[in-house]
């Protein structure tokens, strides 16, 4: 069923812009959520674009990853929006969105998702420096694209985030339309391939020429990328596990935490409207603080920093897609994403679950299975 089209004779950025504009035009999309250059500053943010002309500033290929767009898309699809929507997302954004859909926070049926091969992204700090080294944002993106998809270094000063280096799902498997870039020569146009019936319907209506079958170069590039990432992931897991395998180690890992909760705000799958940590639950009685102090001779204030992270792990590690936004958001440079990826990997493995990939797979602990009762209580 896969139908693919070829977008030719242009550089990737122009190609993708014209492709998105065509999609919007020909498919009757009312608005499209896409990373776009801000009018007010040389920065890229997800933007809900309703005027196709604004797509000239769209830049889904940039290594900028200021927020995980899944959360934004969930806001748009939670209830009927009154118009047809499309979204251009990174693979990890799609996976996070899928998790939110499972949790009834967004609706997948109401949106056409265009996913783009992701070679990785830069932290906000790194991106700002990277962008500032180029004349224009477009130039920065062009420079990035020139090497990123063939596996070469992006820039001498800027490196992919740890989360991206450890990412083992760089292709947009859950998209309706996937834009394939790995192993492709930037000068030879790009391929958009339908992954769902909805995607197929969209592409069929575009009057664009069909693409060839998947290129062998793409396969090679992907295999190499994945090998490299697996290796990194393994090392990273080993070192995080070593550093956090005791309460003391874990406390040290998270010692710089000041309960700003930025990580929670940045996390795409932390979906609660009001987090329990901002309710009065943790505003303990003064007597309680005193008791703690009495018992140990002194208690760190604010309290409950470790507990906050443990709670977040308990709540969202089964849904963690490893996008790295928590690390990106931390003002104190705690490598949270490494820790959460590691824990997520184990909890998901325990339930035979992979976050974000299969919409039909129910999240763990969603139902009450009589048979599990005996296992759990041990009788």
């Amino acid at each position: 069923m896969t139908q693919a089209i070829h977008i030719d004779n242009e550089d990737w950025l122009s190609g993708i812009r014209s492709f998105l504009a065509t999609v919007m035009d020909k498919t009757g999309i009312d608005a499209m959520l896409v990373p776009t250059r801000l009018a007010v500053k040389n920065r890229i943010m997800p933007m809900l674009v309703s005027d196709p002309a604004r797509l000239a500033q769209a830049d889904p290929l940039s290594p900028a990853f200021p927020v995980n767009g899944a959360k934004q898309l969930a806001r748009l699809t939670r209830l009927p929006a009154g118009g047809k929507l499309a979204a251009v997302l990174r693979p990890c954004e799609i996976r996070a969105f899928n998790e939110l859909v499972k949790l009834n926070q967004g609706k997948r049926d109401d949106v056409v998702i265009v996913g783009i091969d992701c070679p990785g992204a830069l932290s906000n700090t790194d991106f700002r420096a990277f962008a500032d080294r180029h004349e224009t944002i477009d130039a920065a993106t062009q420079a990035f694209c020139a090497t990123a998809f063939s596996g070469g270094p992006v820039d001498e000063a800027a490196a992919f985030t740890s989360a991206c280096r450890a990412c083992n799902h760089p292709t947009p498997d859950g998209a309706d339309i996937a834009v394939e870039l790995f192993g492709t020569d930037p000068t030879h146009g790009l391929t958009a391939r339908a992954r769902t019936e909805m995607g197929e319907a969209v592409l069929a209506g575009l009057d664009l020429p069909p693409a060839e079958a998947v290129l062998p170069q793409r396969k090679t590039a992907l295999t190499e990328t994945l090998d490299r990432r697996r290796q990194y992931r393994k090392q990273m897991f080993a070192s995080v596990a070593g550093a956090t395998d005791t309460i003391r180690g874990l406390s040290a890992y998270l010692a710089d935490c000041v309960n700003c909760y930025n990580c929670r705000a940045a996390c795409p799958v932390c979906y609660c409207t009001t987090c329990v940590f901002t309710t009065d639950t943790f505003r303990h009685e003064p007597f309680q603080y005193l008791q703690w102090a009495r018992r140990k001779g002194g208690v760190k204030m604010p309290t409950d920093t470790l507990f906050f992270h443990l709670t977040r792990m308990a709540h969202m590690s089964t849904a963690c897609v490893g996008c790295g936004q928590c690390t990106n958001a931390c003002p104190n440079d705690i490598p949270l994403s490494d820790l959460f990826s590691l824990v997520g990997h184990h909890t998901q493995e325990a339930f035979g679950y992979v976050a974000g990939l299969d919409l039909s797979q129910r999240p763990p602990m969603c139902g009450f299975e009589k048979e599990e009762y005996g296992e759990v209580v041990g009788i």
């Binding site: 949790l103 009834n104 009001t274 639950t281 008791q291 709540h315 969603c366």
Partner: protein, 1135 residues
Amino acid sequence: MDRKIGSALVAGAGISGIRASIDLAQMGYRVTLIDRAPHMGGILSQLDYQFPTDRCGMCRMLPMLDRDAGIQTCLRKGLFHENIDVLLGTTLAAVEGEPGRFEVALNQAPSPIDPDRCIGCGQCSDACPVSVPDAFNAGLTPRKAVYLPVPHNIPNTYTIDPAACTRCGACEPVCPTSAIRLSAMGRQAFRILVVDDESIIRQSLDAWLGDEEGYTVETAASGPEALEKLAATPFHLMLLDIKMPGMDGVTVLEKARIIRPSLNVLMMTAYATVETAVDAMKIGAMDYLIKPFEPESLIPKVAAAYEALQKTAYRRQTVGAIVLATGTTCFDPSVGKNPMGYGIVPHVVTSLAFERMLSGTGPDGGRLLRPSDKRPVKKAAWIQCVGSRDLQTGADFCSTACCMFALKEAAVARRVAGDDFQATIIYMDLRTFGKNFERYGQQTTSTEGIRLERGRVHSIVPTPGSGDVTIRWTSASGKIREECFDLVVLSIGQRANPHTTALAEGLGIDTDGFGFVKTAPFSDTRTLRGGIFAGGTLTGPTDIAESVIRASSAAVNASRTIHRAGGGLAEKADDLVSCRDVACEPPRILAVLCRCENNPEYEKALDVLSARLQQDPAVARVKILDRICTAQGWDSLKETVSATVNRVLVGACRTFIYGKKTRGLAAAFGLDPVLMEAVAMDHHQGLAAPATVAAIMAGLSRLKNVSMEKDQGIAVVNRALVVGGGIAGMSAALAIADHGVDVTLVEASDRLGGNLAWLHQTIDGTPIAPFLEDIIGQIEKHPKIEVMINSRVVGAFGQAGHFFSTIETAGEPTTTAEHGAVILATGGGEAPTDEYGYGTSEAVVTQKELETRIHEGRLDTDGITAVAMIQCVGSREEPRNYCSRVCCPTALKQALWLKSRKPDLQVYILYRDMMTCGLSEAWYTEARRQGILFFQYRPDRKPEVRITADEAAPVSVRLHDPILDAPVEIAADLLVLATGIQPRLPETLALAYGAERDRDGFFLEADSKWRPVEALKAGVFGCGIVLSPRSIAEAVATAEAAAGRALAILTADRLPAARTTAIVRHSLCTLCLRCIETCPYDARFLDDTGQRVLVNPAMCQGCGDCATVCPNSAAIVEGFTHRSMFGAIEGAMAV
């Protein structure tokens, strides 16, 4: 609706008695539950595992609605409900009066151990020198004469086995709480004063009555001495000599009657003074004896006086109705003619003993070891029908439960002993006749690797040179098999309780030849005396599920009796005391700690604990009181009442006591019961133990953070909707309507009656039509029942307490019924078939068609000479892989009917396993006796049917006879196919009420054993053959059971919500809906806007699954807020 209250007596605290008691208590009655044994639970207290879950699960019987009326704890440990009084060691001595107002006399065995004082420390048992086999472990372990009847009971009070106790007195002084008074036990409590001037008489009477007979005897050598003793202490009987120097007997008698007017006096006289003795009787002596006399003439007179005294001690009370559930006993193979090696050959055990061997509280802590040499058991054989289906042991009945019991034991044993455990079950017919039994059997035997052998074992001998057991049987093919096993398990059958006959005689109800209580036609629970009903196995052997159903049926019938008589015997419920509103006050807690030991360490621990408590500003005061569990201690607790505190924390060793008394305590303080918290200070752990301190600190935290919001519950529509107008639907409707509750009875066809319309008679020859007419008559004239024929339910929604159903009636406008509960009794019918030539010849009919022909008088028996019947047509194999249970008795019924019409008619019954469970086995025996021929066939070798052109014998059936190991050909005039029953429960109907269907389309019950007539969703019930195939009486029992369970909802104005239920904090809710998905009780739902998650507080069981999946505490369970949980954890961590 009539709001009547009353009280009932339930005799027998086994599973059935518990079920009946809970049902009656939930309907609002005061229940007195008695049991002869010193413990609850009957035989099930010894069983850890039940199929099909291979676990226990008895607790599922606990009330789901108004949970707070009882304490939710393991039912094998105890039953605590505010409407139920449990009296153990008690028997029903006499019943007088009429239904609705029975005066009952209860004989309570005097307890030498004061349960209020016993702390279960076990020092008495350590001191006891007597060792006897422990019946709880089926004799596999020894116990002392003073012992715990069941190791897991709450309260775990020691008791004395009067038969084993030697009255040595070793236990009395070691008891730390002085709870033991041996003198209170039996005859020892009967005090006799012997007054005679001859020392030889005094001595010999002391020896006869004291040493030999066990009474307490004191002697006096003269009248004045006797009067002195009488004045000092009371006596029950005085043996008084007439001729004594100084003061003579008559004078003593006169004076004694002034001191002790009720004293029994037995005069002893020489022949010469008989006349004086006669005169003495005129002034109050009870009798006289002429000297010299033998013990034989004295002892009965003393015994009579003793018995008379016992009777005066009977507890008397008035009850409206009586439920008997005294159950059965297990067959003891050692007493029969064929002991099956039991008690003779080592390593032959009963199935009950095997159950104990598997148990964690058994002899080997749940490791499967042989009793004597403790070698692991790796190869065991189960021998079925020991004491069942055996006329030699007087059992022309099937014990019904043993086949499944053996399958379960084998499956569990395999799990316990490992995959290399080999199990062999040697059986006669594998009776997998109940719901899902067949599949359980097939699955167990295939996946669990259990070998089934058809045969009957006789010879059981020790294997020479080892502790193994060699058994011998004839295999199906006729080969004599001899095999050696590590262990042989005798699947012992049920036997009527030996006490049943005496009980029945006393109550004026009948028993059958086997000792089971006889019931009225078409009922399993109505005895022949009005107002007295029987539950469980009392009316015939059966399994747990049916026992539970019968118990519920008996309970609802008891309730009907009380209603009919006007009710009103219960003690008046206390008026609700108004509570102080303390919601806006900061917590001021009174902490009360119980002191039950007097030693310095305990004192020190109490000091430390109270200092800890006092640190918390929320604790206003800490009080230490002595032994709160005693009446005195409780009074001192009540004296602490003060308005300066607004919460009370009680730390004591046996919290169940306070659980029951909480409301009273709360009333004393003028506080809501939720503000009382009782915490267990486990004395086994010691007061200073971290676990004890943690528990108390946790309790403190719970109390600080307790929520005082109380849900008002759900208003109940006092009407029932019964769907289906067959016998089950009609019986349910009548049972409910008899309680003054409105019933709408919806029937799809144009008349009531269902399958009964075409049934002719029962197997015992009772005609069905008059019964049906009677029932329909009752329905039609019942003012509370509205019948809607030609109607069907097309849609429904709602919750327990308030449902809305849309009903479509042919030719009339659609109506909506509002009701509080629904009973689905849509029944089922004979399954269709195209096997065995059905449809190709008039000579091939189904059992229903045969019955109809007989019923309509269309069967010409003169014209036929042979009838063949094939059983299990399309049954017990996929897709209808279940036993329809009624077909075998039906085949016997028809065969016997045919034989009675035409004795030389040949009837052949081709069967797989004859499923004549319970008392219907006798009909099987009778059918064999009558010369009906039976041929067993296997599903892989089914009979072949040929329709011939021969008019004399139009049907030819060929099959393989396994006994002859030869083909057999039967020529018959008529072939009758038993196709079984298939249910009629439309999926849409089930779904409309949130009920589910099982894979065969039957109503899926919440739990096959413990809640057999209700859906998991509250307020939805099923009965009759929509539950599973069953006979008329069994269908009626399920209908009455369902009615009873529904009445627990329908008799209330509001469904009270329990204290511990889940709530939703909407401002926090993200609407991820995981809580709805995860709720096992369907208590959560999305409101009509789709923007709010709601909880039905009556259905919510407070399990906390929702709170677990909710990440931000939008779903919480009352009493388990984060705050209080943190406090509890903090309390535990702070130690």
